[in-house]
């Protein structure tokens, strides 16, 4: 039987191909999507860790702690009887990396013990009592201890009563030194210095570099140059020059960080009027005389957020950007640290916070697994290894693991999203397989009848079916895997596959084959088993009109699907699933349960449309006159009207494929255009030019930015220190006459009014101000209300300014993080006397990324040469997108699915035409025997195929639009600005339509060839 089944597969290549093609496409689509997801997950890992500036920040928990160690013990056994003598031993060890001088050791003897006079010895020699008491009571002094050296003190005690547990006695010995004025208590964990810790961390496997960093916040007036002194607090960083090469987030804008020199931030340099080569004087609490330094250069810290992050566990993740910064070499900090310790040890310390002593750790990222989950396991292991080096004395801020954990969540979400977006394709390919199986059932039934007539038992027929299904499964899966691999390589390129791990690749391949076997089971085996149970007498019915409606039609499955989709939609809506909430951190929350709704709608709407079509065709008014008229039309109308179920099956298969393709094309086009709109919103326009703090510009600078290709420039001044009541708010001042023409304003930004009306309201009142909806709600501000604000003038003094509310806004271009007030620039400048602006928005005549890039280059090469500035484009903003999920390569997935839509559509129409030939070949040869012309016969096949193609395109397009709308609505968290409507990719939809029609024409052309080859004599004798 096995041989017969295999021979049958080989001898009927077209039939085998029709059975296999659906399985192969389903497996191919599933496999290529899975391979794509694997590759994407790997790229998501890269993308997730790319913005992480410092992999891990390991901070010593006691930066001012003593670097001397004291151990204290009592001899004489675990318990002491009353009056029993015992020896107390105190050992002081210099565990620091520098000598300790002027040591003072003290001890307070426990009340249960009494000191034995003149029993104290120091390093083996006697140490006289002081005033009849132990010399330790007043403090035993010792000159110095070199690195690693020990000082051993012993003295005798006697118990004043029975002591059952000596271990319970308090050990109160302490030691201080000139370098460590904070007392080191007895029996504490051994102290560790930053350099010691850093060198130990460097030995941990997976660590590629360790940089030491120290930081301390110093009070106002700590730094001066000549007669000028900083009126604001100062952040002091200490690191070696190599830190700058490891961490380019600190951007050196002028001079050099040469040994012995310091770096200043632009604000500090400007306030002091200092630059490279200037001398500055640094006052450190706890130190008598100020330190003198030569300024080596200027460094920009505006991008160095991690350096300003709070290190304590209570407020980890908070950033407090300090404008005035000085960077000193680590060696210099080593001389400062004792002063800081002295300050802290004093009765009234000047410093409010302890310094930060930190090892900034870089891991070997190339050794991390591409799977973010696996990579996170490794990085978390490295973190634990670091913590184990000095247990309890270090806190590790694990930025890399945090990013990987976020990416792990995003990668799972992305996988589910991809599979949901790709699932319809797999389903339609599987349906295609089932459809082909149904068409071939007639031929199979005829053969089974013949086999029965030749004496085949039911078990033989079951075996034949099993072997055939197995053959189709193996062939289809193998072909599908090859197609999947080929299309993924072709559409996505080799890098999409090579970036994934071999393990995930093999798992995807295995799951795809599993999907192929399930598809075959559903498409070939089950219908075959059903057919076997039918009566043999019903086997030959080739020429009868199919009158039994399919299950979905009888069971009203379409209506069930639509009702289920509506239910999911309504429940999600009632649960607030469509409300947009701001994304937190790097992850985006998506309700994947809701993704069932478009899938159900896809099936439901398609089937309902076909149901209506069938209802309509059955009611076609056929001309009832005696004259036939045009034979082809006359025959076609009757065939379509009276055999609409056959037509309907074909339309269902093809319309599902078209709906799938068009929904993805619409969704991805909308996604792409919306992401670009988001990027433009983040930038504010096509470009944003931010002059350097060292080279601030006035509004007039806009004229210099009008390089070729620029259609408009507008200045924007921003101040975060606008005081409203007692709160600091952010005021952005714009030129309201020009802003609307340059910035990207969206209708959704302004509730109730258009962007033009909002700008007009601002323009009509110089004191007018637009208020954020949040602020309007907080302060209960209505349009026309007076708003009293205090603004800093150019000397830094606060001046009262009265604004009038001219309207409200939800979002404002260029400020995705949100601002509070938008006012007129001219009024702001006249009220404060500040002529400098914060940035310029630039609109290009051609908004394409290439044109915007060209304008950016022109600006950098033109005005940018003389005035340092940061030029950002929507493209750079797009790449800076923080969420790994929002940056998923939907275009890649779209390309992949487009290929399969084309293949499935072509296969669908091909199988339909092939099915027509197979089912109606006797009908066609009868017509040939009656004398029909080949052209007329071809017209009949063409007419039915064209009807299927056109109806499928119509139904598929409508269903696709419904699905795309639902996808956009569900995936709204991916967008910053919500899309107002779907973006229609006319070229892609036209390509899809062309492919369907082209596939139909090609199939009909093959059919015409086959019709000529049919042997009428043989077929007409066939029963």
């Amino acid at each position: 039987m096995l041989r017969y089944s295999l021979r049958d597969l080989v001898r009927n290549p077209r039939r085998t191909l029709a059975s296999v093609i659906g399985v192969a496409l389903a497996v191919g689509l599933f496999a290529s999507t899975a391979f794509f997801v694997d590759g994407s997950a790997a790229r998501m890992t890269e993308r997730a860790i790319a913005p992480v500036a410092i992999d891990m920040q390991a901070d010593l928990t006691s930066p001012l702690g003593s670097s001397l160690t004291v151990t204290q013990s009592i001899g004489g056994g675990p318990s002491l009887a009353a009056g029993q003598p015992a020896t107390v031993t105190i050992v002081v060890t210099n565990t620091s990396d520098r000598p300790a001088t002027a040591l003072v050791v003290q001890d307070v003897i426990a009340s249960q013990l009494s000191y034995v006079p003149a029993s104290t010895s120091l390093n083996g020699g006697p140490s006289p009592d002081a005033g009849g008491e132990s010399p330790l009571v007043g403090g035993l002094r010792w000159g110095s201890l070199t690195v690693g050296d020990k000082l051993t003190i012993t003295y005798q005690v006697r118990s004043t009563g029975p002591i059952p547990a000596v271990a319970g006695l308090p050990m109160r010995a302490t030691v201080v030194s000139a370098e460590d004025p904070m007392p080191a208590a007895a029996n504490r964990l051994p102290a560790v210095s930053l350099s010691q810790f850093a060198s130990r961390v460097a030995t941990v496997s997976g660590v590629s570099a360790v940089d030491q960093l120290a930081a301390i916040d110093l009070p106002a007036a700590s730094l001066s140059a000549g007669t000028k002194s900083l009126s604001q607090p100062l952040r002091l960083f200490a690191f070696d020059p190599v830190f700058l090469t490891h961490y380019p987030m600190v951007r050196q804008t002028a001079g050099a960080f040469s040994p012995g020199t310091v770096l200043l931030s632009p604000d500090a340099a400007q306030a002091l009027g200092a630059g490279s080569g200037s001398n500055v004087s640094l006052t450190v609490p706890g130190r008598g005389s100020p330190l003198q330094f030569a300024v080596g250069g200027i460094a920009d810290f505006s991008k160095a957020d991690p350096l300003f992050a709070a290190r304590s566990t209570d407020n980890q993740g908070e950033f407090i950007q300090v404008p005035n910064v000085i960077v000193v070499p680590l060696a210099t900090f080593a001389t400062i640290l004792p002063s800081l310790k002295a300050d802290a040890a004093s009765g009234s310390p000047t410093l409010k916070s302890a310094p930060v002593l930190e090892a900034d750790v870089r891991l070997d990222r190339s050794r991390l697994a591409t799977d973010p989950a696996l990579a996170a396991v490794v990085t978390q292991g490295i973190r634990r290894s670091m913590e184990r080096l000095v247990p309890g004395r270090v806190t590790v801020i694990d930025n890399l693991s945090d990013a990987l954990v976020a990416a792990t969540g995003d990668s799972i979400l992305a996988k589910v999203l991809f599979l949901f977006l790709g699932l319809p394709g797999v389903l339609v390919a599987a349906y295609l397989s089932r459809y082909a199986g149904g068409l071939l059932a007639e031929a199979r039934r005829r053969e089974q009848a013949t086999l029965r007539a030749r004496g085949a038992q039911p078990r033989h027929l079951v075996s034949d079916l099993t072997y055939t299904a197995l053959g189709v499964a193996i062939l289809g899966s193998a072909l599908g895997l090859a197609i999947g691999l080929g299309t993924a390589l072709l559409v996505l390129g080799p890098s999409a596959l090579t970036s994934a791990s071999r393990q995930s690749f093999l798992i995807s391949a295995a799951v795809s084959v599993g999907a192929g076997v399930v598809t075959t089971l559903l498409a070939v085996y089950l219908p075959g088993r059903r057919a076997l149970t039918r009566e043999a007498g019903n086997e030959r019915r080739e020429m009868e009109v199919t009158t039994v409606p399919p299950v979905w039609l009888r069971m009203k499955v379409d209506l069930v699907f639509i009702a289920a989709a509506a239910l999911v939609w309504i429940i999600t809506n009632l649960a607030g699933g469509f409300r947009i909430t701001p994304a937190e951190g790097q992850s985006v929350s998506l309700s994947f349960y809701t993704l069932l709704a478009p899938l159900l709608a896809w099936l439901g709407v398609t089937l309902l449309a076909v149901r209506l079509l069938l209802w309509g065709t059955r009611r076609l008014k056929l001309p009832g006159g005696k004259r036939v008229g045009r034979l082809t039309t006359w025959t076609l109308l009757r065939s379509v009207s009276r055999r609409s179920l056959a037509l309907g099956s074909g339309i269902v298969a093809l319309a599902l494929a078209v709906a799938f393709g068009s929904s993805l094309a619409l969704f991805i086009a909308t996604y792409d255009s919306q992401k670009q709109a988001d990027a433009r919103f983040v930038v504010g326009s096509d470009l944003r030019v931010t002059p350097s703090a060292l080279s601030q510009q006035s509004s007039d600078f806009a004229a210099q930015l009008r390089v070729p290709g620029v259609s408009g420039v507008t200045p924007v001044a921003q101040t975060s220190g606008a005081i409203v009541g007692t709160e600091k708010r952010t005021l952005v001042s714009i030129d309201s006459a020009v802003f609307g023409h340059v910035a990207t304003l969206n209708d959704t930004f302004f509730p109730n009014v258009s962007p033009a009306a909002a700008m007009s309201a601002l323009r009509s009142d110089p004191t007018g101000v637009l208020v954020s909806t949040e602020m309007a709600r907080t302060f209960n501000i209505q349009t026309g209300d007076q708003i009293n604000v205090q603004l800093a003038d150019r000397t830094g003094h606060l001046v009262p300014v009265t604004f009038h509310a001219a309207g409200v806004f939800k979002d404002f271009p260029g400020y995705p993080q949100g601002i509070d007030l938008v006012g007129n620039l001219a009024f702001y400048q006249s009220a404060t006397g500040v002529s400098q602006v914060s940035l310029f928005l630039v609109r290009t005549a051609d908004p394409s990324p290439a044109a915007v890039g060209r304008v950016a280059d022109l600006i950098k090469a033109g005005p940018g040469r003389s005035a340092p500035m940061l030029v950002e484009t929507s493209a750079t903003a797009f790449n800076r997108d923080q969420s790994t999920l929002t940056a998923v390569n939907l275009r890649g997935l779209g390309g992949l699915q487009a290929v399969y839509t084309a293949l499935i559509s072509a296969a669908g129409i091909g199988i339909f035409v092939f099915g027509l030939l197979l089912q109606r070949r006797k009908e066609y040869v009868t017509m040939r025997a009656l004398g029909i012309r080949m052209g007329q016969l071809w017209g009949l096949v063409f007419g039915e195929a064209a009807a299927v193609a056109l109806f499928s395109l119509g139904i598929g397009s409508v269903t696709g639009a419904v699905m795309a709308y639902m996808f956009v609505k569900i995936l709204a968290p991916l967008f910053t600005i919500q899309p107002a409507s779907l973006t229609v990719p006319a070229d892609q939809l036209a390509t899809l339509a062309t492919l369907v029609i082209g596939g139909m024409l090609l199939s009909v052309a093959f059919a015409a060839r086959s019709l000529r080859r049919l042997n009428p004599v043989e077929l007409l004798r066939e029963e």
Binding site: M543, E544, K626, R638, G931, I932, P1016, V1017
Partner: protein, 237 residues
């Protein structure tokens, strides 16, 4: 009365390739059939009867030899010409009726007429002819029924009506009673013979039923693709 068609078969052979072997379905046949006569071609299964009928109707070409319908050598004509001759001059009656399942009985008849009519050779009054046929073949009550709503006998009557609808000069029947019981079979054959008599067309029927064969004017017996006997029928009532 239409002008009947004469047939001449000269040294016709027909080979098929099957399973790597060449099978001679018809092996050097020579037959001549006069216009207006009725001929039965009989023989065991696989003797080449249907192949010969297919070649007579121009459905396929002989491997060698020639076939003339009247003065036209149909065996050398292209398919389009042979199709024209079929729709204008030949009426086919098939064993399994082969009615078009999506057309009613009446529409099946109209289809054959339309094939001819569209070619420009249709005649006025065709509808009368059609009505006459339907009435004559006892199909008036079944005209609007679909084939699967008709009995075997009724279907074959529709098949005969379709074969006669365009006034053929040659009627070819391929086991026209093969799937009918004897009573229905006799009635169907009556109809065919009556039609042949009425129209004056030439009638060639392939059959393995001796009773059917003997009711026709001449009986040609084939075996292994060759004529083994050619005689006048023994007319039976």
């Amino acid at each position: 009365m239409t002008a009947a068609m004469s047939l001449r078969v000269e040294g016709v052979t027909k080979h098929y390739r099957a399973g790597g072997l060449t099978v001679k379905a018809v092996d050097g046949l020579d037959i001549e059939i006069e216009a207006g006569t009725s001929v039965a071609i009989v023989g065991p299964s696989g003797c080449g009867k249907s192949t010969l009928l297919g070649m007579l109707g121009g459905l396929e070409r002989p491997s060698s030899g020639r076939i003339w319908l009247d003065g036209t050598e149909i065996s050398s004509l292209p398919e389009a010409e042979r199709a024209r001759i079929r729709r204008e001059s030949i009426g086919f009656v098939f064993q399994s009726y082969d009615l078009l399942p999506f057309l009613t009985a009446q529409e099946n008849i109209e289809f054959q007429q339309a094939l001819n009519g569209e070619n420009g050779s249709g005649t006025n009054g065709k509808s009368d002819h059609e009505a006459d046929l339907i009435k004559r073949l006892g199909l008036s009550e079944h005209a609007t029924k679909f084939p699967d709503q008709l009995s075997g006998g009724q279907r074959q009557r529709v098949g005969i009506a379709r074969a006669l609808a365009h006034g053929p000069r040659l009627i070819l029947g391929d086991e026209p009673t093969g799937e009918l019981d004897s009573e229905t079979s006799a009635s169907v054959l009556d109809l065919l013979l009556e039609a042949q008599e009425t129209t004056g067309a030439t009638l060639v029927v392939v059959t393995h039923d001796a009773d059917v064969a003997e009711r026709l004017g001449r009986v040609v017996t084939l075996r292994d693709g060759k004529v083994v006997s050619d005689r006048s029928a023994v007319r039976r009532a």
